[in-house]
Amino acid sequence: MSQSHQAAGIAAGRKTRDAIAESFSDLHPPLSAHEALVAADRCYFCHDAPCMTACPTSIDIPLFIRQIATGTEEAAAKTIFDQNILGGMCARVCPTETLCEQVCVREVAEGKPVEIGRLQRFATDSVMDRPQPYSRAAETGKTVAVVGAGPAGLACAHRLAMHGHSVTLLDARAKAGGLNEFGIAAYKSTDDFAQNELNWLLSIGGITVETGKALGADLSLGQLQQDYDAVFLSIGLAGVNALTLDGNHDGAIDAVDWIAEMRQSKDKTDIAVGRNVVVIGGGMTAVDAAVQSKLLGAETVTIAYRKGKENMSASEYEQDLATSKGVHILFNATPKSLSDGAITFTRTGTDEEITLAADQVMRAIGQTLEAAPEAIALEHGKIKIDEVGRTSVTGVWAGGDCATGGEDLTVTAVAEGRDAAEDIHATLMKGE
């Protein structure tokens, strides 16, 4: 027997297995072949296309769309992978509304962009069950340690392997994939896509994955530098910002932990969610936690954000997604105190109090860098890198969320991993 929406407290199984499966199906269902042709035909094949400039990995969007239009989606996929080996995941998770599709000339002109993300998925899906189109160059004899197997690390490892280097991919967790596996909303990456893509990517060879190896505990930068010709750090943001409030914190958890647990659950019937959930934060993590709580059957879900709508880092599109799923967004609410089954806020900047029923409070107020080696210079709490990913320490590169530069997005992580790999390759081959 499943519990209902109204069951008090925090409980698993508020919906049946089937109902949950239904709720968590693809947010953007794949295009059929016909839909893809229709969508592809809308592209103008722009000169020096704005969409391409807006894509952090600079995928040749007009070219791949034209390749779809001419019935060669496999060639389209190759065009995508040449720039972005995680083009499949990016097609699912990129906030296209603030990237390529935002600047598509048809968005600007008509408010209806070419559906670049879905077309990218159409192309990449067509080849995921085939051998990947890349092979390794002749062995160079050089070795590189990549620490952190999220998108930045994976993109870096793949590009290095292509150039013939031997890569050891180390990760603290029991499974590789980073936030692709543990963070991205379940309705964006369905059917175990993260692991399938990972295996497809690794099939190039030359990459040894070692899980359960944490920098700072099992590994030290000094040792890695001794053992390998180069080191790439892509450890993401493993810490969370603390939120200390008056009162009993038993019902308060970190949204990222809850999401990670949920992503690893087989059918999510075992994931406990409150009847009344309050998520504190204003970013993508807050939205994902709130929406997924609702999909699991919470009766009321509120995102409480300290500032106004315009400051929220979750895009307009993400906010609309949340509200369309029945999530309420409370703006200008500063958390004050927790009590049994309730949380109290003040209207930001005033004394006015707002108390909401809350069996479960999720913190989603940002992640922080953890376990960064001391020798390395930081800037604004992140590893400082230059445009090709070099850190302050010679022979050590970094990229992705743990490093400065770009937004904290999957696609940015891929771009930084790839670019660092090119620089590592150039450096190693020069024998610097």
Partner: protein, 433 residues
């Protein structure tokens, strides 16, 4: 609602939209439905000699060219003339004409190139009450191999001879349908006129192979592994047909020969364009085959609105209005200067104009860092390529440089009309003439 009635060589119809001789007019069932939908007339699917009818292939008979969203732009077929018995067709024509006396019913004919068979079939048609005949000298496949269709249409002497037989053996208004598979449309048109034709209709389909299957390496449509050329029609052929119609309409010898315009007519606009270039009415096939008979309703309402807006009270007022303006290249004013102009409010910054002009034209469009596209008047030769490739209608327009103003490209003021025949670079201009 304007008065759309049409009188084409004495054949009256409530509007100038006829269905061309083809599958839409193949039988009573279709034609009744067409008339119910509003078509002004039909040219019945071509009839052949009495006796065992022709046979069609039993595999695919059409091939197509598509545009965006599978919009059908060009259709190719390898169908022959009617494959139903002559007697059955004649009975059906009689019944339909009786029930729709106000609509035009013209019978298309194709029999071997001998006087006897033409005389015989005309006698059979006479009893149907049909309004006229159309001689199918156009079908480019199958029938041509048997010495009929375009095999006749490609030899002006045969056209004249058969037309003479038809006029000799019947009083019917006679329309000669021309094939475009020739080098100069004036030769067959003049032959038809010389033979006594009351009108010509054009174009029939163009020899074509639409595609090749890249797995089987066979032309498509493929019949048991092989393909044969077929006849091409639909929106893609309109420009070819318009030119041929204009050639006949503006030639002094054939200028008074009535024309039924055919080839890619899909909307009221296409129809008006044909009529403006000299067609007395139009015939439609592919548009009906693509969208069904109902398309005629848009043609009727569109033509009517256009006529009302222009204050035109009879379709005949449209016929030939553009003919005096269809000239030869050598007549064009070489001193007429325009420049492309981009409307920045409409521009969506796709850069297509830039790519096309920079790579393939005159490097006359500038692109700024922030994607503003502007025309360099000192380079623009006014070729119109940018206008044609721009995805936004009317975003790029051509601005005429007034007389006397300086053309920045040449540095010279715009002068009055002068054409190639008097141009100093023309070697055949005799100095001091």
């Amino acid at each position: 609602m304007a008065d759309l009635t049409s009188n084409f060589i004495g054949i009256k119809s409530p509007n100038p939209f006829w269905l061309a001789s083809a599958p839409p007019t193949d039988k009573e069932y279709n034609v009744r439905r067409a008339f119910e939908a509003g078509w002004g007339g039909v040219v019945w699917k071509t009839l052949g000699e009495d006796g065992p009818p022709v046979v069609n292939v039993n595999g695919p008979r059409y091939g197509a060219i598509h545009g965006a969203d599978r919009r059908l732009l060009g259709l190719n077929n390898i169908e022959l003339i009617t494959d139903r018995p002559l007697e059955v067709n004649l009975e059906e024509i009689t019944r339909v004409k009786k029930d729709y006396p106000d609509r035009a019913v013209v019978v298309s004919l194709m029999v071997p190139c001998e006087e006897g068979p033409w005389r015989d079939i005309l006698r059979r048609v006479e009893d149907t009450g049909a309004d006229g005949v159309e001689l199918n000298f156009g079908c480019p496949h199958g029938m041509a191999e048997r010495g009929m269709g375009s095999a006749v249409g490609q030899v002006p002497e045969y056209i004249q001879m058969v037309t003479e037989w038809v006029k000799k053996h019947s009083d019917y208004p006679c329309i000669v349908k021309l094939t475009p598979n020739i080098t100069n449309i004036l030769h067959p048109a003049k032959a038809a006129l010389a033979g006594g034709a009351d009108a010509v209709s054009l174009i029939n389909t163009i020899n074509s192979i639409t595609s090749v299957n890249l797995d089987t390496f066979a032309p498509e449509p493929t019949i048991d592994g092989w393909g044969a050329h077929g006849g091409y029609c639909g929106p893609a052929v309109k420009p070819i047909a318009l030119n041929m119609v204009a050639e006949i309409a503006r030639n002094p010898e054939t200028a008074n020969l009535p024309i039924s315009g055919i080839g890619g007519v899909t909307t009221w606009r296409d129809a008006v364009e044909f009529m403006a270039l000299g067609a007395g009415n139009v015939q439609v096939c592919t548009a009906a085959m693509t969208y069904g008979f109902k398309v005629v309703q848009e043609m009727i309402s569109g033509l009517s609105q256009y006529m009302d807006e222009k204050g035109i009270t009879s379709v005949d007022e449209i016929v030939g209005r553009a003919v005096p303006k269809a000239k030869d290249w050598q007549d064009l004013n070489l001193n007429f200067v325009t420049k492309a102009e981009i409307n920045q409010d409409l521009c969506i910054q796709c850069g297509r104009c830039y790519a096309s002009c920079e790579d393939t034209s005159h490097q006359a469009i500038a692109m700024s860092e922030d994607r503003v596209f502007t025309v360099k008047d000192d380079e623009c030769v006014a070729c119109n390529l940018c206008v044609n490739v721009c995805p936004v209608e009317d975003c790029i327009t051509m601005r005429e440089i007034p007389l006397g103003e300086v053309d920045e490209r040449t540095g010279k003021p715009v002068e009055t009309y002068a054409n190639w025949t008097t141009h100093p670079n023309n070697p055949s201009v005799v100095a001091g003439e």
